[in-house]
């Protein structure tokens, strides 16, 4: 019903701002479990609450409501102000996103042959994430890889 994608954006914005669920919940005056349910889309967030969150996280309300594919490749607005209402912001390539993605794409030692079903599923899931979500995955995989390198001395 749309609230799952609102919740996902909320989680991304919260994480981007460096707040834990407990911290943000305390700031907006709700419990951590309520905020968690907002983020999972299991509880409808009402306008007044989202306005509070938008203000704290310095995002325009539209940020949370845009369809998932609208966020893909869209530059992050740091000012919190979107473009003119009658002409929405053009969907440009996100250079910071590309910059994050490229090292992974160019990682050496990857098998360039035919992908297994698991790899294809992983790729599909990855592609269905928003750019910010993809960056989180990349960061995690990079960290995991570095840890393995540390353990096994390989890379």
């Amino acid at each position: 019903m749309g609230y799952k994608s609102i919740g996902r954006q909320l989680q991304l914005a919260r994480e981007e701002a460096g707040y834990s669920q407990e911290q943000l919940a305390a700031k907006i005056g709700c419990s951590q479990s309520t905020l968690s349910n907002y983020e999972k889309g299991k509880r409808r967030i009402y306008l007044a609450q989202l306005e509070k969150i938008a203000e704290i996280l310095n995002k325009p309300i539209e940020y949370f409501l845009r369809p998932a594919d609208y966020h893909r490749g869209e530059p992050e607005s740091q000012s919190g102000e979107p473009g003119n209402q009658s002409s929405p912001a053009p969907k440009k390539k996100d250079t910071s996103y590309q910059a994050n993605l490229l090292p992974i794409l160019n990682m050496p030692g990857e098998d360039q042959g035919e992908k297994t079903a698991l790899e294809q599923n992983l790729l599909r899931l990855f592609q269905s994430l928003s750019p910010a979500g993809q960056i989180l995955v990349i960061n995690f995989v990079t960290w995991l890889k570095e840890r393995e390198v540390g353990c096994n001395g390989e890379f």
């Binding site: 019903m1 609230y3 299991k42 409808r44 009402y46 309300i61 940020y63 609208y70």
Partner: protein
């Protein structure tokens, strides 16, 4: 701690509305049902004189200031008298809702007192489009801002109170690709240039509630008539729906109660096989089951309204109340007609009208399928 007793003020409200309904609405119900395109203002006038045509308008703006619980009590009574009249009232509540929730002080002072006046002022709520019903993200009515003035183009359908409203709360999009985030809400005063009434919808039930197409062609709206902050209209709409659904449930309970009471009376008077048909378990058990379901639906309505009034999470409860109210309305009217037999099928029999009115209850305010999707999304 749960408390199921009504306050003296609520008991008094029920008495008040029963009196208005019995004296000013019930005598003309058949006329309202059979009426032509001409809107009969008599029931609206009767309610306006008691400041009950839009009962949720806050006292600060001249309204009655009823909470949702009390409003549900009112709507059950109206639903039991004439669901068409109840629908006109719920539409006024709907149209005023976004203004109450997110309107500017100027908007509130301009529009809310109108609906609280002793004259019957109506408001409309324009959302549905020919290609955007349950899927409101497919909305295509386009709003564009040019020099501080908005120009709206598009067609809205199933607009209750359309064409006779003093203002219409309209939803349009600034960017169809942007779906929810592009949605905006506007207040359109009556007579605004470019706003035309299209086809009048000839409905099976709730016939008193005049329902039309609205056509907006280069309709100009001042920026000061935008409701709420930019980007927030979708949530405003959902919140309005979540509140309205509990009230739709109350109307359903009213319809069910009226059908049940009519069938109960009839079953005690109608004699077959030498005794009242109520003495047959097939009849009395049916009525016993109906009474149980009506009470269950009423309690769900009350719970949802209590949650709304206490600013707690009411989304799921409201959808449940709407499903329960609409289902019991349809079940009770169908069962009542079975108890009445052929007499219930005749034009002029109250149960025949109740059955037609009940049918829309699973469609209006978001279909019951949508309500189930809302509930499922929270499981």
């Amino acid at each position: 701690m749960a408390n199921f007793s009504l306050s003296p003020a609520q008991e008094q409200l029920i008495e008040e509305i029963r009196q208005v309904a019995a004296e000013r609405i019930a005598p003309v119900v058949r006329e309202l049902d059979e009426g032509d395109d001409h809107f009969d203002f008599r029931p609206a006038q009767a309610l306006a004189e008691h400041n009950l045509l839009t009962p949720t308008i806050p006292r600060a703006y001249g309204g009655r200031g009823l909470d949702y619980f009390s409003t549900a009590l009112l709507l059950e009574e109206l639903g039991a008298t004439c669901a068409g009249v109840a629908t006109v009232v719920t539409t006024n509540i709907h149209a005023a809702g976004p203004v109450i929730l997110a309107g500017t002080e100027h908007q509130k002072k301009t529009f809310l007192p109108l609906l609280a006046s002793p004259e019957p002022h109506l408001a409309a709520f324009a959302l549905t489009e020919p290609e955007a019903g349950s899927d409101i993200g497919a909305m295509s009515a386009l709003a564009a801002c040019e020099g501080g003035v908005w120009k709206i183009n598009g067609v809205k359908d199933f607009v209750i109170n359309g064409g006779i409203a003093h203002f219409t709360t309209v939803f349009a999009t600034t960017d169809p690709q942007n779906k929810r985030a592009g949605m905006m809400a506007f207040l359109l005063p009556s007579g605004v240039p470019g706003l035309k009434v299209g086809a009048v919808r000839n409905k099976m039930g709730i016939r008193y509630a005049r329902t039309v197409q609205l056509i907006m062609k280069d309709t100009l709206v001042q920026d000061e008539l935008v409701i709420g902050r930019k980007g927030g209209a979708y949530l405003l709409l959902m919140q309005t729906f979540d509140r309205g659904r509990a009230l739709a449930g109350a109307v359903g309970v009213g319809i069910a109660r009226a059908a049940f009471e009519f069938a109960l009376r009839y079953s005690k008077e109608r004699r077959q096989f030498g005794r009242p048909i109520f003495s047959q378990q097939a009849i009395s058990f049916t009525l016993a089951e109906l009474q149980t379901k009506i009470e269950s639906a009423r309690l769900l309505v009350w719970k949802a309204c209590w949650l709304i009034d206490n600013d707690l999470d009411y989304t799921m409860a409201s959808s449940m109340a709407k499903i329960a109210g609409s289902q019991v309305a349809q079940e009770a009217t169908a069962a009542a007609m079975d108890i009445l037999g052929g007499r219930g099928y005749l034009k002029g029999c109250p149960v025949e009208k109740l059955l037609r009115d009940a049918r829309v209850m699973s469609l209006i305010e978001g279909t019951n399928h949508i309500q189930k999707a809302v509930i499922a999304s929270q499981l």
